[in-house]
Symmetry: C2
Subunit: 278 residues, 2 copies
């Protein structure tokens, strides 16, 4: 199969490595010529250019750009494609993207391979990145079934655990386990920075260990990515934050009331439930 990949960063580059390994022919598009050269050298693409029009012969286009660029990319590429080509993306929000992109290309199938790493960019790309990871596919009711099947097959061939659901259901589920953690973790760092006593703030920094490191990790990550989660999944992130705030208030109340048994019960419930998420 001829596959085009727009955006040769961590995800685009890793997809290219896997698709070539699986015998597909991979055409890359990047903004900078330097990235094209690097992608060819890394074996992530068979060829690469800086122009979307170069993808006019591909059967599937994977849009691996930042979220804000997905819809404009689909719009720009549409006039160049064969009528039966399929476009999919890898954005971490789906509701806003799937509806808009499908306007430009009815054979657009939203996708979200859930395989982040701390490192970003082509240099971090690796084969088998998606093996055993969730890959969510989010067709609209009117999305052609054969286009959905094409993306499902590609995702399955990557070794991913493939899920197919409504874009809204995706966004709601992802808000809980990906976007809400960023907001919760961000507020933790902010709170610590607001300690007014300089000695306490200094010692807090000195004492911080694995508990703080892990809980603050995603809130101290890429600011643009975190903002995009909030922006493109606003309704669901807000919904999850409201529930979170209720749980927090509940805990504050238990602390004020010295209801230690209730707090221990909640923590025991967490300990029992957490493995079902991992």
């Amino acid at each position: 199969m001829k596959i085009g990949i727009v955006g040769l960063g961590l995800i685009g580059g890793s997809l290219g490595l896997d698709f070539r390994r699986l015998g597909h022919q991979v055409f890359g598009v990047a903004r900078r010529l330097e990235t094209c050269t690097q992608a060819i050298a890394a074996g992530a693409v068979d060829q690469a250019t800086t122009t979307l029009a170069s993808l006019n012969t591909v059967e599937v286009v994977m849009v691996c750009t930042p979220i804000a660029m997905i819809e404009p990319t689909v719009k720009e590429i549409a006039p160049h494609l064969a009528a039966d080509a399929v476009i999919t993306d890898v954005g971490s929000v789906k509701g806003a993207i799937a509806a808009a992109a499908s306007q430009h290309w009815p054979r657009f199938v939203g996708g979200h391979p859930m395989a982040g790493k701390t490192e970003v960019g082509l240099a971090a790309a690796e084969a088998h990145l998606f093996r055993d990871r969730a890959y969510v596919i989010t067709p609209l009711p009117q999305t052609p079934a054969d286009a959905v099947e094409t993306v499902q097959t590609l995702a399955t061939d990557l070794g991913a655990r493939v899920f197919t659901c409504d874009p809204t259901v995706h966004d709601r589920a992802v808000a809980w386990i990906s976007h809400l953690p960023v907001m919760v973790s961000s507020s933790l760092i902010q709170a610590c920075l607001h300690e007014p006593d300089e000695q306490v703030r200094y010692l807090a920094q000195q004492f911080a260990s694995s508990g703080f490191r892990d809980t603050s990790r995603v809130g101290g990550g890429n600011p643009e990515l975190g903002m995009m989660m909030a922006r493109y999944n606003q309704a669901e992130v807000l919904r999850s934050l409201q529930t979170y705030r209720e749980e927090l208030d509940h805990l504050i109340h238990q602390l004020q009331e010295k209801d230690w048994a209730a707090i221990e019960h909640t923590l025991a419930e967490n300990q029992a439930a957490r493995p079902s998420f991992l």
Copy 2:
């Protein structure tokens, strides 16, 4: 030096391994005879019994029991000790403990080696656990200076980064970077469990990856330990939670107002500030 260690779990066992390596003679006390046998076999103690009275010849006692048992242990052991013996502990809260324990033994010096691991118990004990980790010593104004120096020297010999501060300052600093993360993380798990739609809840569990894993880790840990943090450091944990809640409300407001620039600015501030804690 003759050192007694009461409680042969992760911390007590690890201290024993290090102190024996450093040439001290280590006397262990555990509740169960089986633990005594295991501690001797592991090289964590020179000898061990189940009775506190066996420590009548030691120069320093390290109380490594759960928080709730520290004060009762100091009270019980006091009548057996030489007048110039020093007692210290390893509890993660200090205000409540230091005041109460000093009533029973004026040469009590509060201590907190910050070296947790996920695993607990003697089997998890290891040499060099405290190397390069913070070890906080929290004397009261009336604590004899030579007793403080004894504990400072022992902690320094372990290779730890030794800090000496007021118990209240310790509890305030630790609330930020150790106890608040547990509360924040606990409420995250609770919120996710409160998603009413079964399909969304199921998919959230399936999609959860490293972001959720790290942010939920301490909230899904040992329930008794988490409850003890809340119980014995109630005032400071509540104080940190109130600030946290303000930051969270601030973020919710920015989301409602679609103030994406402010959210990105906050996240950028986090990204810049987080390394100062690690």
